[in-house]
């Protein structure tokens, strides 16, 4: 089967900062990819290139057959198949949980409202926030908000899910309830790319781990290789610092 995402030698500058250097990466259907690395290594930028929130300065990004050329049209088309979950949830505060979830299905997929609501309720039940459908985001805990954000993305029935440090803004006791949902999604065969610092989670779900530093992919491979037999010095140093605590 053809790769869902093909990234071919992309470069990205933020002003004078070379944020991505000749990065190439492919994601196959049903593959679970985890990107890790120190902060400022370009993980989030790479993730955001996949759904066109960032446009790269050179190189190619092809998502589900659509080449992202930097114009709004191709980006919008590709985004129909790409769900994204942000570190800071970014739920729409003036809409109820249910309204958050049905907005895109109604306007993007042209789903009738009743049908969209039924779909949203079943997805909300799946991420165990079904009881909060009528509430506003501000009435929910961080963990609940992030699960709603996951549901909102799933309601568009994407082919691939992107997670940008989904648990970094959460209190420790809420991290697991969100990770469980993501693990459940992974087990159901969803293709996903996840930027995270949760190494135990990475080892549990990832088919492949990509380690980035300084805007480059330093090393990638199955978790066993990355964690138990790291080759690059920078990866060893990173693992040493992150696994110490």
């Amino acid at each position: 089967m053809a790769d869902l995402v093909t990234i071919d030698r992309i470069n990205k500058w933020h002003g004078s900062l070379h944020a991505l250097r000749d990065v190439s990466l492919t994601v196959a259907p049903h593959e679970r990819l985890v990107i890790c690395g120190p902060s400022g290594s370009g993980k989030s930028t790479l993730l955001r290139c996949i759904n066109g929130l960032e446009t790269c300065d050179s190189g190619d990004v092809v998502v589900d057959g659509t080449r992202l050329t930097g114009d709004a049209r191709s980006a919008r088309f590709a985004r129909r198949e790409v769900g994204m979950v942000f570190q800071s949830f970014n739920l729409f505060p003036h809409m109820t949980v249910l309204e958050n979830c049905i907005l895109a299905p109604i306007w993007v997929r042209k789903t009738p409202k009743r049908e969209a609501e039924d779909l949203a309720r079943s997805v909300l039940d799946r991420v165990r926030v079904g009881a909060h459908a009528g509430k506003y985001p501000a009435q929910l805990s961080g963990g609940e908000q992030q699960r709603v954000a996951i549901a909102r993305a799933l309601c568009l029935a994407p082919k691939i899910m992107l997670f940008d440090e989904p648990t970094s803004a959460l209190d420790p006791e809420m991290i697991n309830e969100v990770l469980e949902i993501i693990v459940g999604l992974a087990d159901s065969g969803m293709t996903m790319v996840c930027v995270t610092h949760e190494m135990a989670f990475a080892r549990r779900v990832a088919d492949r781990i990509v380690f980035m530093d300084g805007g480059e992919i330093i090393e990638h491979g199955p978790p066993a290789e990355i964690f138990d037999a790291p080759r690059a010095e920078r990866l060893k140093a990173f693992l040493g610092s992150i696994l110490k605590n």
Binding site: N51, G52, L53, A72, A75, R76, F77, R79, R80, V82, G83, M84, F86, S88, N90, L91, F92, P93, H94, M95, T96, L103, A104, W107, V108, Y136, P137, A138, Q139, A149, R152, A153, L156
Partner: protein, 281 residues
């Protein structure tokens, strides 16, 4: 909330009354204080020995319940008409200007900033007079009403544009990105996501601007329009009942402002959904 009460009870401190009662207590006290202040104000006016008979006689004209001698609306009705039309025009101008101000296009940006600077930097009175008196010299002859409407719209449009811009800029970038990630088109993001959130921030200062516009509409009286302020002053001059007429006009302006404030309050509540769900009055 219930948990909070339990914790306090356990700590031996008095448990506060339920939220609903506390809210109505607050309201009662607000109304009581308002009544006392209004009575004080009325008592102060008593010393002026006002002729209420004359006020009652002129009130229908001040309110604009009768048409003027030229067959056109007058008094408070004309004031409201001028304000309402200028409000709609100013809103349109302001939205376009705010869009220009937020635009990447240098020409659009320059147009917007030049206009806003010019009309915020010169007195409204001067603008009214220039539009009415100077434009005929270059061949554009406008009536008093049209000139007044244009001047008010352009002046308030410039202020309102800044209000709208600041409201839009206050919406976190993450909101737009989340909407974009959901594949929503740009116009829909503005209409459903960023716009309604910006409105919550724009409504209070915009409401203040419109109340101020209501009173600034008195400036068009110099163009010979028989609006509230013009009528009050001419009746005052002919009868020497200055205090009666000025106070009556002031009270009518105030009453209209209160209506504006109520509308603003309702809109605030409408667009405040989901924000500060806990503890809102």
């Amino acid at each position: 909330m219930a948990l909070d009460a339990e914790v306090r009870a356990a700590a031996g401190r008095p448990v506060s009354a339920p939220r609903v009662t506390r809210k109505s207590h607050f309201r009662i006290q607000v109304w009581a204080t308002w009544t006392v202040l209004a009575l004080l104000l009325a008592w102060g006016c008593r010393a002026l020995q006002l002729d209420f008979g004359y006020v009652a006689q002129k009130l229908p004209f001040l309110l604009g319940l009768r048409l003027g001698p030229d067959g056109f609306i007058q008094g408070a009705v004309l004031t409201l008409f001028v304000t309402a039309v200028s409000m709609v025009c100013a809103l349109g101008i302001a939205m376009i200007t705010a869009a220009g101000r937020l635009s990447d296009n240098p020409v659009a940006f320059a147009f917007a900033t030049f206009y806003a600077s010019l009309f915020r930097g010169t007195p409204l009175l001067v603008q009214v007079l220039i539009i009415y008196l100077a434009l005929p010299q270059i061949g554009v002859v406008l009536g008093g009403l049209t000139s007044g409407l244009i001047a008010l719209s352009l002046n308030y449009g410039a202020y309102l544009a800044e209000t709208i811009r600041s409201g839009m800029m206050a919406i976190p970038l993450g909101q737009r990105e989340a909407a974009m990630a959901l594949s929503l088109p740009r116009w829909l993001i503005l209409w459903k996501v960023t716009g309604p959130q910006a409105l919550r921030l724009i409504i209070p200062p915009a409401g203040a601007l419109f109340v101020s516009m209501l009173k600034d509409s008195a400036l068009v009286s110099i163009l010979g329009l028989w609006e509230l302020n013009f009528l009050a002053q001419s009746y005052a001059r002919s009868s020497f009942r200055y205090m009666e007429m000025l106070l009556a006009a002031a009270l009518i302006y105030w009453a209209l402002s209160i209506v504006f404030e109520i509308v603003q309050f309702r809109l605030e509540r409408r667009f405040g959904r989901g924000v500060a769900v806990v503890g809102r009055r």
